[in-house]
Every structure is written in C-alpha cells, then in structure tokens.
C-alpha cells in the first residue's frame, strides 16, 4: 500500500504540489489526469524518491520514502517506473537492457539474468528483438522495453509517467495493450495519462489534478462520465472535444 499524506513540493518559489493526500491499495489501478504542470508527474517522481519533498510523507508498505535512514536503492526495487521519454540504455541490446539491473542490483548470475530478461521481453512482445540496440527499435518498442526492464526487478508497484505522450499515434495502442495486460495480472499501478479513454476503461479510480491539488477523486467512470467539480468538467470538455 502506498500512502501519500499532505505532500508538498516546490521548485524554488514555485509550489507544484500543495498538500496531496492519496492512498493506493494493492491491486488497484489509479489514473492521474490533469493539465500540463498540474503536478502529476512530479508526484510520481516523489513516490520513487527521485525528487525530494518539502512537507508531508510518502509511505510505501510502511517505509517512509523520504526518511533519512531509508535505503532508497532497496525501496526502488519495489517501485518500477517508466517515463515519458524512452530511456533505454543506448549502448546495450534490448536483452542486456533488461538483464542489467537484475545482474548488478540483485546479483543474479549472468545466465539467470539473461533468462529472466528473455522471459520479460517475451511478455511485452519483444522476444524477437532481444539482440537489437534501442536505436533499431521504434518508439513503441522502446517504451515496451522500458516496461520489461522495470518488470524484471519484480516490483510490487508500477508507476507510469505519460508513457504514450511521446509516441506517434499509431504506436500508442501497443503500449496501452501492455498496460492492460499488466492490469489483468493484478499489478498495482499508478498511471499518469492524458488518455482519458484509457483512464475510464482501465482505471479503478481517477484523480484529477489541478494546480498542485487533487481537485476530484473517485471511481474512474464516475469522475470521467459525471464529474462533480466544475474544473474537472471544463478539463474533460477540453480534452474530449
């Protein structure tokens, strides 16, 4: 379970998170929607400890992410994250990309790590691309590679940060299919997305972010089909029409 309590985050004088409260249950898919600069992506980075926070707490399975004595390297193995930009390691093949962290962080033997990597490349449909360098893969394939790489660490939670925003429209589907497959497997996910249709269909709950606060939070269908807040309604009208 991830508990987010009154989290505040500023970049200099600009406050981007103004007291966020959220909790994510095991097995749940929570979608975060909202305009650019509303703080959704920053919140994901804070959950992973990639960004510091100025107030509040983020607790993952009882461990406070931003406490001084927290070993972030250990904690991060539980929290897979995939970013908007495809961040495949350009000097490694697809297979090596996935095998690197299991080998280096979990100290698996080379052989075990490669077997594990093959298994996860198959899972995201990249089994035939194992020996290719990222430069030879399409954007959608690179993004699926990033998902396989994160999954190979056997995380308890997956965080997705606008993973389809940088993709050509025809490549979005293959990545969303992978997310749906993950949901079916029971993975707990927090998905930052601009794709409202995906949020409605795949999200259990949706949180609408506006100017650093959660403006509305509820069951996915209700928030998107029948929003209670005026600002949510305006946002949805803008993105749906």
């Amino acid at each position: 379970m991830i508990e987010i309590e009154n989290v505040r985050k500023s970049f200099g004088t600009l406050e981007v998170l103004k007291g966020i409260n959220l909790s994510i249950e095991k097995g749940e898919v929570l979608c975060l929607i909202g305009g650019s600069g509303s703080g959704k992506s920053t919140l994901l980075q804070c959950i992973n400890g990639l960004q510091s926070i100025q107030g509040g707490n983020i607790i993952v399975d009882g461990t406070n992410v931003h406490a001084r004595d927290t070993n972030l390297n250990t904690l991060r193995q539980k929290l897979g994250i995939v970013f908007q930009q495809y961040n495949a390691f350009p000097h490694l093949t697809a297979l090596e990309n996935v095998a690197l962290a299991p080998r280096v962080v979990k100290k698996q033997s080379r052989r075990d790590a490669l077997d594990l990597a093959r298994e996860h490349l198959d899972y995201v449909g990249l089994g035939s691309k194992a020996d290719m360098k990222p430069s030879g893969l399409s954007g959608g394939q690179q993004q699926r590679l990033a998902i396989a790489r994160a999954l190979a660490m056997k995380p308890a939670y997956m965080l997705f940060d606008e993973v389809t925003s940088a993709l050509d429209p025809e490549l979005v589907g293959e990545v969303l299919d992978t997310l749906r497959k993950l949901k079916e497997s029971g993975m707990t996910m927090i998905v930052v997305t601009h794709d409202v249709a995906f949020a409605r269909e795949s999200g259990d709950r949706v949180a609408f972010f506006d100017q650093g606060v959660i403006c509305e939070l509820g069951p996915a269908r209700q928030v998107i089909n029948d929003p209670k807040e005026e600002r949510t309604r305006q946002f949805l009208q803008r993105v749906l029409h």
Partner: protein, 219 residues
C-alpha cells in the same frame, strides 16, 4: 689561411643518437599520457559531480590551461632547483605535461559525463542501482564514446608538445635533430626525417583510434 669547418655530413653512426631521441620522446609521451589521463579522469569526474570540487579546482585548471607550456617547464625546473632538489629533465617534463594533460583530459571527461541525459541516470537509479553502479554501467560507458575521439587528439598533441621539454635540456627527438643540424648543416633533410618520425609515432595512434571508434558505435 685555411679554415677547417667543423661540419661533417650525416652518417649512419648518427642513427643511434636519433633513436635515443625517439625513445625519449616515446617514454615522456607514455608517462605523461598515463598520469595525465588518470589525473584527468578523477578531476573531470569531481568537477562534474561534486560542486565543491568545481570551485576548489578552478585555479589549477585555469592556470595550467592559460600559461604557455614553455614557461611552465622553466618555472618548474627553476623552482625545484632553487628549493635545492634539482630534477632530471625527464621528470620536469613528466610533471608539467601530466598536469597539463590532466586538465585537458578533465575537460573531456566532464563533457562526456555531462552529455549523458539525466533521464538515463534516473532510469538506472529507479531500478535500484546505486550511484556507483549507475556510473560504472551506464554513465561511464556512454561518456567514453564522447570522450575518446577528443582524448586521442589530445594524446597526439601531447606527443608533439614533448618537443618543448628541450628547453630544460631533455634530449628528445627534436633536440637530437637540432644537434645534428648544428653539426651537419643539413637542416632540411634532418627536419624532414624528424617529421617522419613524429608521423610514425602519431599516425598509428590515430589509425587505432578510428578502429576503436567503430567498435564503440551503437547505431
């Protein structure tokens, strides 16, 4: 009255002397390139990743880069002599050129590490890698690709800069050829031959680097 000029033409027996010059140039280049690269890698990494080091190391970088090498040789040579511990000309050369090579290398290391997208570091760290694991397996191999061509250029320039150590009495290739020119008066021939020797040292380095660069390419 008849003058007997002390000139005598080039002889095969001059060859060992020239080869001594070649040997001394090679030794100095090798020593300065090795120490200089080690210094440069550490300093470049410190300047890139440790903010305090950037400030503390600025004077070393700026002074070494801005003062002509020939002055540095004379200053170092004289300082040690004045302090009562005169150095062999070879060591003057090794010290000055290593520090100089260190500064140039550190700039290349810094540029190489700086060119690694921070998102790749985030991706590595988010998989649970420590700072050192990320550096070892992601940043360093990527930085090496940016670093390497510039570093080869620096080593080649360094090979030629070793000629300057002759000002403190080190008999390297150019100094040896000057001695021969004084005796034989065959400036053109000797200098052409000397140039050929420098070429023979530097060209294989650049050939080798081109081959290595090809193996680095990831596209």
């Amino acid at each position: 009255m008849q003058f007997q000029l002390p000139y005598s033409g080039l002889q095969w027996s001059d060859l060992p002397y020239v080869l001594l010059g070649v040997w001394n140039t090679l030794i100095l280049t090798l020593a300065a390139a090795t120490f200089g690269t080690l210094i440069g890698v550490v300093i470049g990494w410190l300047r890139q990743d440790v903010p305090v080091a950037r400030v503390v190391l600025a004077p070393y970088v700026d002074v070494t880069r801005s003062v002509p090498l020939i002055i540095q040789f004379i200053l170092v040579n004289s300082s040690f002599a004045l302090a009562g511990i005169p150095l062999e000309p070879l060591w003057v050369g090794v010290i000055v050129l290593s520090l100089y090579m260190g500064v140039l290398t550190s700039e290349l290391v810094r540029a190489g590490l700086g060119a690694v997208r921070f998102q790749l570091k985030w991706a590595s760290r988010s998989l649970g890698m420590s700072y050192w694991q990320e550096l070892r397996y992601v940043s360093a191999p990527l930085a090496l690709r940016t670093f390497f061509p510039g570093w080869i250029g620096t080593v080649i320039a360094l090979t030629k800069d070793t000629a300057l150590v002759s000002v403190v009495g080190y008999v390297e290739l150019l100094r040896a050829s000057q001695v021969l020119i004084n005796r034989t008066n065959e400036a053109l021939l000797v200098l052409a031959g000397t140039g050929l020797f420098y070429f023979a040292i530097c060209y294989p380095i650049s050939l080798y680097s081109r081959r290595l660069e090809r193996t680095f390419q990831h596209d």
